[in-house]
């Protein structure tokens, strides 16, 4: 059973947004379900700090043993911070997807796009678990 924390926002691309203590900033990563489907993550290509993306634009890639997947920017915004510890230990995405396995901190350009994302219950329905 994959873990789906109740207080996060989710996308149908299996990413989550977790509110940061800084107002208007969200931590982005992939869900427990997604890491389970991908299997062992071998390395990631993450965007540069300051890069801006539109919603659903590709901002990076995840190379897992079984397949490579794109990381989509869940909502339009600017990258404030990148998790550099994933360079040394990409397996954090598998072992702690909602914690140490986070990927970027994003400042959405329009907060209403965040409100349009899935909640935990809707995401649970999507993955059928």
């Amino acid at each position: 059973m994959s873990e789906i924390p109740t207080y996060l926002y989710y996308t149908d691309q299996h990413e989550y947004l977790k509110p940061d203590p800084r107002p208007g900033v969200f931590t982005v990563g992939i869900t427990d379900y997604a890491q389970g489907e991908l299997g062992d993550v071998v390395f990631l290509e993450l965007p540069a700090i300051g890069a801006t993306f539109q919603a659903s634009e590709v901002m990076g890639t995840i190379e897992a043993v079984k397949a490579v997947s794109d990381i989509y920017c869940p909502v339009a915004g600017e990258v404030m911070e990148v998790n550099t510890s994933l360079d040394k230990d990409p397996a954090l995405v598998n072992s702690d997807p909602y914690g140490k396995g986070w990927m970027v901190r994003l400042k959405p350009s329009n907060l209403s796009q965040v409100d349009d994302l899935l909640d935990a219950e809707e995401y649970r329905t999507l993955v059928g678990k």
Partner: protein, 370 residues
């Protein structure tokens, strides 16, 4: 997919311990267990792993004409096998294209067991029967009636020894014996697909779950764990062993596929011999080569191989080697670029990732462990 997947006699065991099951060659098979592919890979290199490979095809050929028939069907020289020995071989079409690679076990003077790839199993059986002709043999497909486990890793012998009545030291590499394991009738061979020491164990399906559990329970203190097909793939790739369907197919001849070392043109006539002899005489234009990446990248099947900015070949298998921490691949390249040390690149999405042709195996004992 509407096709009903076959299950192995160990299906319930896999589900019980949390295996992730995937369709593979018409079977529902474990791709990994909860610890994941990389941990499983390391386990086999450092201690031992137990694989369910019951999906493999197993065909027996017996009778007065068995030796001559297997000699006709396969490219390697079966006549050098004593009873109790195994050899790696291949079936080729008349044009030299590879139909399958296989292990030939000579169980007795007139009794052979061929272990073939699951994906090719029914095609192989058809091919064998088509060429049976006037050979005085009985061909029997035993795939469904035989379970197959692989126990692989440096401590495999320590784990198996207490469960058998023979001295495993007498079962050397590529040797095969019929002897019970934990009182279940078994055929035990010192063969495998990981590059490690180890055994492949043929069992009756009804005995397989008990022997599986007995091995795991008694092997645990030696570090034994169940291993899925994901790690089986990365283990074989570190050794540079080709996989049918990826690196081997009927469009490439046994010589192009790097199987020249098992093609014994001097043994007498066999299926594909004339074409292979002609190709050897004329010289090859392309060949399967190993590539080790020098920059970070994850090579995958279908990616282009680059040389001087041109596409010169295509990756057929690739991974990031858990033992080496670097990308490794097998790819068909022009013969002129197949020499170890030749600089090549692999296009990974929009980037050209630099690497070089590398001798196989990629990994040997003492190679850098991450």
């Amino acid at each position: 997919m509407s096709e009903v997947l076959r299950t192995t006699p160990l299906h319930e065991e896999h589900l019980r311990i949390g295996a992730k099951m995937v369709p593979f060659a018409g079977h529902s098979m474990p791709v990994h267990y909860p610890s994941g592919i990389q941990a499983e890979h390391r386990r086999v290199r450092e201690a031992a792993g137990l694989f369910d490979v019951s999906h493999m095809g197993k065909v027996s050929i017996e009778g007065p004409g068995a030796l001559a028939f297997v000699q006709h069907l396969t490219v390697n020289d079966v006549s050098v096998l004593e009873p109790g020995q195994a050899q790696y071989s291949a079936f080729c079409r008349e044009d030299g294209g590879v139909l399958d690679d296989l292990l030939v076990y000579r169980l007795a003077d007139r009794s052979f067991l061929l272990v073939v790839n699951a994906a090719n199993h029914s095609g192989d059986v058809g091919w064998i029967r088509k060429h049976e002709g006037s050979f005085d043999v009985q061909v029997e497909d035993r795939s469904e009636r035989t379970a197959l486990l692989a126990l692989q890793g440096p401590v495999a012998e320590e784990i198996l020894a207490p469960l058998v009545k023979i001295d495993l030291g007498t079962v050397g590499p590529s040797r095969v014996v019929r002897t019970p394991i934990s009182e279940a009738p078994a055929v035990i061979a010192r063969t495998g697909y990981t590059g490690e020491d180890g055994f492949e164990i043929f069992l009756e399906p009804g005995d397989a779950p008990r022997i599986w559990r007995t091995l795991l329970a008694t092997g645990e203190e030696h570090g034994l764990a169940p291993i899925g097909l994901g790690a089986r793939d990365s283990l074989r790739l570190e050794m540079g062993y080709p996989l049918y369907g990826n690196d081997l197919d009927a469009e490439h001849s046994a010589l192009e596929s790097g199987l020249g070392w098992i093609v014994k043109l001097g043994k007498g006539d066999f299926l594909g011999r004339d074409a292979l002899a002609r190709q050897k005489e004329a010289g090859l234009s392309r060949q399967l080569a190993g590539i080790l990446l020098e920059e970070v990248g994850f090579p995958r099947p279908g990616y282009a191989v680059l040389s001087g900015g041109e596409e010169v070949g295509v990756v057929t298998s690739g991974t990031v080697s858990p033992s080496l921490g670097a990308g490794i691949a097998l790819a068909y390249v022009p013969v002129g670029l197949s020499t170890p040390g030749t600089s090549v690149g692999i296009r990974i999405r929009d980037r050209c990732v630099r690497g070089a042709v590398h001798p196989r195996p990629f990994f040997t004992r003492g190679s850098r462990l991450r």
